[in-house]
Amino acid sequence: MSSPSKILRKVRLASFLERLIQERQVFAPVREGEVILIREIESPSQVVLEYPNAKESPKSVLFPQRETLFWYRAEKGKAEVDIPRDKEQGRVLFGIRPCDARGLLLLDKVFGGDCRDPYYVGKRANTVVVSLGCDDPNPSCFCLSMGGGPCSKEGSDLFLLDVGDRYVAEGVNEKSAALLADETFEKLDEETAALAEKVKRASGASMHPVVLKEKLVEQLERLFNDPVWKDLTESCLGCGICTYLCPTCHCFDLCDEAAGTTGERIRVWDSCQFPLFTQQASGFNPRPTVKERFRQRIMHKFSYLPETQTMPGCVGCGRCVTECPVNLDIREVVTSLSKGNAR
């Protein structure tokens, strides 16, 4: 079902993106100050493709931090509701990393399922994901240990691999057909194909296998009340960095913003690390301190999601490892838990 691989020369990338920008919204890594972020681009010159990974994950394109669910006007005795319509013009997520593409896979499962979220599912349907394989992963990356890999194609529609002066483009599914039909793509020759295989094999080597995951799910069940959690989480500040930058974290809050008789119900990101997440009106909070909240994040990603969504809630992108102000390393936490002892 996937179309044959082709070549995209780097010199012709700009013209390909130029055409793409005409008909669709193209989101790609751009540099803002010293930080690389995924933003909509107006011109190909903004795109930066030599980058370990963006600071924020591309989930913010399909599941933005603030999204209007509906507008309303409400007066005495009557009310009207109206739902925003998504732009028909499709989106392209260009140049995102395989781990983030894999993150979208989990979001598809969570927001899909029996009771579908029309906002996410609507955007996702007309979005083409073009992922770019990693040839030089960060020391904090551990996608291999989470079932992914620097050249994994999961969650992606068109997979690009940098082999020097060109990219090898592999169509993963029919969604990439329209893009691959563009004339900047050339037939794949033997020599480039061999080069691609070599790069693929080498890409995983620099990433030392870090996380022992086999017996993790049973250990987590057994360790739920183990005092090891107190030591593991004592330095945690309870901020929202790890959940907001995570490509698979999807928890949100619903609230109204109103002025006079009109207003809107919006969805905003929320974090299980914040105390109000489970604070009940009676004052009782089942997760009153940082220990329970940090444990919930680990349990949800490595025990509950594998059971309900058949894949862990972590793709090993390493953002929470590099960005945690107190360097609480999820790899160490998971490794020590799967061995059943404290750090």
Binding site: V81, I83, L254, P275, N285
Partner: protein
């Protein structure tokens, strides 16, 4: 595509002040749109998210019985932003409703069985729905002996006083009301619900127990039921967690691999024991129901 976040409109037809401190009111709502009424098929134990436009949403169990068409009833305790606004509303005002949500009580497995409904304080609303449903002519014969044990802190805080009158006159229902502190003119039991349950000692043979109320009451009632011989698979609980989306997406009510809003709120004690021990926290056994919005410690 069906949008599970957008509420349909309902109008306030009647407001009943349930408690002497006027803290809990029951709102009788009628459907503004006919199509919404047809679609809203629910069973007792399910809940809905009520939208007060401009203030937000909050989950409430349906206190009305499905056997009474055209109307939904919700009991609202005045405690926060949304409930505060609801308590300021009058007849004719319009609110948004999303639902029915959650799984509701397992009526099929209750059939031909005796039922012991144990409720406390504000948690009694869905048990009222279940009781009225069972007592309705079309379904009373499907169920066996019915015992209702309902307690509150003071007589003035008992909800649904008119229903309690009707129930007292019914021969096919054993009603036990209790209050923590008796007052003059009070004939019912005096004491906590768990102690009254032990005194009433309902027969566990061929019977199910349903417990719904504040975590502390659940925490002390469960051992009594086990003492009386009710097995884990015969005890059902309606759990209380902070909820927002009601459709298992926003992650708030996640306990173990379950979402209380979608996989619950009704669980058998057997299902709960398989969940992580955090599930038992729902029965208030953390020991320190900290009134704690501690931001990071």
């Amino acid at each position: 595509m069906e949008n599970p976040y957008v509420p349909f409109l309902m109008r306030i037809e009647e407001i009943i002040v349930e408690t002497e401190d006027e803290n809990i009111k029951t709102f009788e709502l009628s459907f503004v749109g006919k199509a919404d009424e047809e679609r809203f098929v629910y069973t007792p134990g399910q809940f809905a998210e009520i939208s007060v436009f401009g203030k937000g949403e909050a989950p409430f169990g349906m206190a009305s019985t499905p056997t009474r068409p055209g109307r939904l009833a919700f009991s609202v305790s005045k405690i926060g932003v949304v409930t505060g606004e609801l308590h300021r509303m009058e007849k004719g005002d319009v609110v948004g409703v999303r639902g029915p949500l959650g799984n509701g009580y397992p009526l099929e497995s209750f059939k031909t069985k005796s039922l012991v409904l144990v409720g406390g304080g504000f948690g009694f609303s869905t048990l009222r729905s279940l009781t009225n449903f069972i007592l309705h002519d079309s379904s009373r014969k499907d169920y066996g002996h019915l015992t209702v044990i309902y307690g509150a802190r003071r007589p003035g805080l008992l909800l649904y006083k008119r229903d309690l009158e009707h129930w007292r006159e019914r021969a096919d229902l054993q009603l036990h009301l209790t209050v923590d502190k008796g007052e003059n003119g009070w004939q019912g039991h005096v004491g906590f619900v768990p102690d009254v349950t032990r005194a009433v000692a309902p027969n566990p043979r061929n019977a199910y127990a349903v417990v719904c109320g504040p975590p502390a009451m659940i925490h002390f009632t469960l051992p009594v039921l086990k003492e009386l011989g009710f097995g884990d698979e015969n005890i059902f609980l309606s759990l209380e967690m902070r909820m927002k989306c009601g459709i298992g997406k926003c992650g708030r009510c996640n306990v173990g691999s379950k979402y209380i809003c979608r996989d619950g709120p009704v669980f058998s004690q057997q299902e709960l024991s398989r969940l992580t021990t955090e599930a038992h926290m729902q029965e208030g056994c953390t020991g320190h129901g900290a009134r704690c919005t501690e931001k990071h410690r």
